[in-house]
Amino acid sequence: MKPISRRGFLKVTMTSGGALAVGFTLPGCSTFKTGFDEKEQSWTPNAWLQVDRQGAVQFTLDRVEMGQGTYTGLTTLAAEELDVDPETIDVVFAPVADPYKNPLYKLQITGGSTSMRSSWLQIREAGAGARALLVAAAARVWQVDPSNCMTRDGIVSDSNGQRSLSYGQLVELAAKEKLPDPLPLKDPADFRYIGHFKHRLDAHAKVTGTAVYGIDSELPDLTYASLLRPPMVGGKIGSVDDSAARAMSGVIDIVQTRHGVAVVAEKYWQAYKARQALKVSWNQEDAVLKSTADVFAEYAKAADKDAGSTKRDDGDYDEARQDADRQLEVTYEQPFLAHATMEPMNCTARLTEGGMEIWAPTQAPDLGRIAAARDTGLSPDDVTVHTTFIGGGFGRRLSQDYIGEAAAICWQVKRPVKLVWSREDDMQHDVYRPAMLHRLRATLKKGELTGWDHQITGPDLMDWYARDAAPAQYPWTPKFMWGALARIGILGEGLIAPVDTSAYEGAVEYPYAVPNVVVRHTKADAGIPVSYWRSVGHSHNAFAVETFMDEVAHALEKDPYEFRAHLLRKDPRRLAVLQKAADMAGWGKPLPKGHAQGIAVHRSFETYVAEVVEASIEFGEVKLHKVFCAVDCGRAVNPDIVRMQMESGIIFGLTAALYGEIDFKDGVVQQSNFQNYRMLRMDTAPRIEVAIIESEADPTGVGEPGVPPSLPALGNALFQLTGKRQRRLPFKLEV
């Protein structure tokens, strides 16, 4: 693979930006357009592929690469059907354009572990269509039927192997051919790369330090900005004394935006230093001066007062209650969490003739245009967003706040500017995984679980997200209507916007064969900015469901694995991963002295994952030994990337289980950097073993599903070790 140079990246996005945005339709349609570009001497059979006269293939990746492997996975799909080696393909990041919208969201978004699921047919068809046209062209040259032609590694040959033509030789002719209907997709038995390709196409760039992330964006005459934001949620600028800061070395300007006070300087360090010299008083009139305890007290009050909207109601829970021998009732509290991506938020912006150009590590470039337009006098169409490699997403970069900030600063100083957040900015001004309150009740009779009632209390994420997402779905609407659009978006759930399941996803699909099941959501919003965090609702609901299942198993004096397996006997895919993980872990067999295992299984984003965590307590601290993980994600396009994502999700989840907590005091986040928002590290991370269940089902996502089972699996192991149930995250051992 050719590592992407910064210059190459800019050139490619600039030349392809306009051309690709127009005139393309999805492959498979009769109006499929092809074209040979005389100037570029290349053929673009569709919005994703370009082949030049030398046979060089360029693939436009319309999902961002933030570690999860789309760069390799989606390129492999195109390569497979086009019949070229994935290593030879030049991958470029897509500009904002309609063909690149995620069909599941109608927005150009990378999230929800949807890339493989939504691209599986689309990108294969793009490759298959291009290949069919090349074959048709060769067949016409040789005056043979296309069925007598074969392809391999960028060459079409006839069936007796006598004649061959390279893709490069055929591009001009292929542009004149018509697509067959239906498109000839490969038989999975013939796959050469899907299921077999073992590398990552971005590895070379990432081990040599040449991969270009947002923070590496470079422009002539670039200036740097550091932004001082109100420390408390909802604070506003009161008075500003910037005289000392203005006198400091390199300072170009100090501007106020609706986000805070920005220092713009010749160098980043100068901007950051001068920011420390600002004297700002904050107006707290509209501030949310709550502490974490206030939030949970609010939730509890809401849960008492409002039984919530019923999301599922099987059987008759009240009857089960009256009939029960015994009842259990628990409360679980889960904290606000920061994303803490390794690459801090950043955005580079410059004014162009009548518009603005943005370079940013964003999961949603079309929402980035909305954010930039909102904070400038521009319309979304005036804003061009270039995406880059992303140094960790985890949902954080679905929000576009940092793009709005950079746009606002650039709009005022009228110079190219790169806004870089400090780690403290990132920790204290995140859009957090919401704190959530779970109340669960169970009814037991004659040694069986007969009823399950799960009340989830917390906010709806769409209330926060619709602000940017709704205008992006209707970008032609005038700006004054955006506020109304967001409200309509929320009201129109299920009609014009997807139903917001974020609070109860992973709870409402309660999988165990229990006759009476109630799942309820009591909406309570503390006014603290929240958003999507790796695995979203599953991150807290899997903990609630799988921890309470463990509590019920112990109450019934049943083995937690056997108890689950029995109630999953009609859910074969879930049962298979559970059994596999238990087998790998040697569940029930003697363990080293002082070790214990906990188990959990969960399905999220259509992927099934079971995990067994083995831990002990050493010197008063939890020691993670080993995690055994079984995953069923349908057909594994790149098995090692599936394993990588399970490892990643497990460490992400266990980090939250042991350390993750954003704590508010009077509206101010108390954590600031990695010393008090801790991470698992080399010495504390467990060994991990992953097994992939063989499957011919269509592939589903793997970026998130590794996370949810890890937290309850560890909590369940800690119960085995201590006899004390951990009902609040992060886990704390009693001293």
Partner: protein, 168 residues
């Protein structure tokens, strides 16, 4: 006032504020963007470079401290053709995910292997614990370090560190 130091074998002179962290000088003055900003406080290791052969956090090292010293960055260990053995091991084991922390990880691993050609798990823990990976690539980093150490043992050829020094 100009500050001079060696970067990847070449003497460079910079005329910037003396309290500027080395990180920003490398990235924004010298265009060596492989070294990353992660925390600004020496807590995450994304900015790790070698200072006279020892790993340091360039975000917390001012330019005045490096005057006259020898700095090696990820760009300095990448050969003109192919990959450094550690980079090759990283690639072979599919270590990088988002990749943002990996330059720092590789520089820490390089310093470890130079001191200790066959590190134990505890040695790897001790040397690598200052480097956070939010994608959780630790198990693979451990395997890649072991593989690079093993390859070094079985290879007769001296493995260059790219900056003219042996890996171990």
């Amino acid at each position: 006032m100009s500050i001079s130091f060696k970067v990847n074998g070449q003497v460079r002179s910079l005329d910037v504020d003396a309290d500027t962290p080395l990180l920003w000088a490398l990235r924004d003055e010298l265009g060596l963007k492989g070294t990353k900003f992660g925390c600004g406080a020496g807590l995450c290791g994304a900015c790790t470079v070698l200072f006279d052969g020892s790993p340091i956090r360039s975000c917390s090292t001012s330019l005045s401290q490096v005057e006259g010293h020898d700095i090696t960055t990820i760009e300095g260990i990448t050969p003109a053709e192919g990959l450094h053995p550690l980079q090759a091991a990283w690639s072979e084991h599919n270590v990088p995910q988002c990749g943002y922390c990996q330059s720092g990880q590789i520089m820490s691993a390089l310093a470890l292997l130079r001191e200790n050609p066959s590190p134990s798990d505890d040695d790897i823990d001790a040397a690598m614990t200052g480097n956070i990976c939010r994608c959780g690539t630790y198990p693979r980093i451990r395997e890649a370090i072991k593989a690079a150490a093993e390859a070094r043992k079985t290879s007769d050829a001296s493995v260059s560190g790219g900056d003219g020094r042996a890996v171990s």
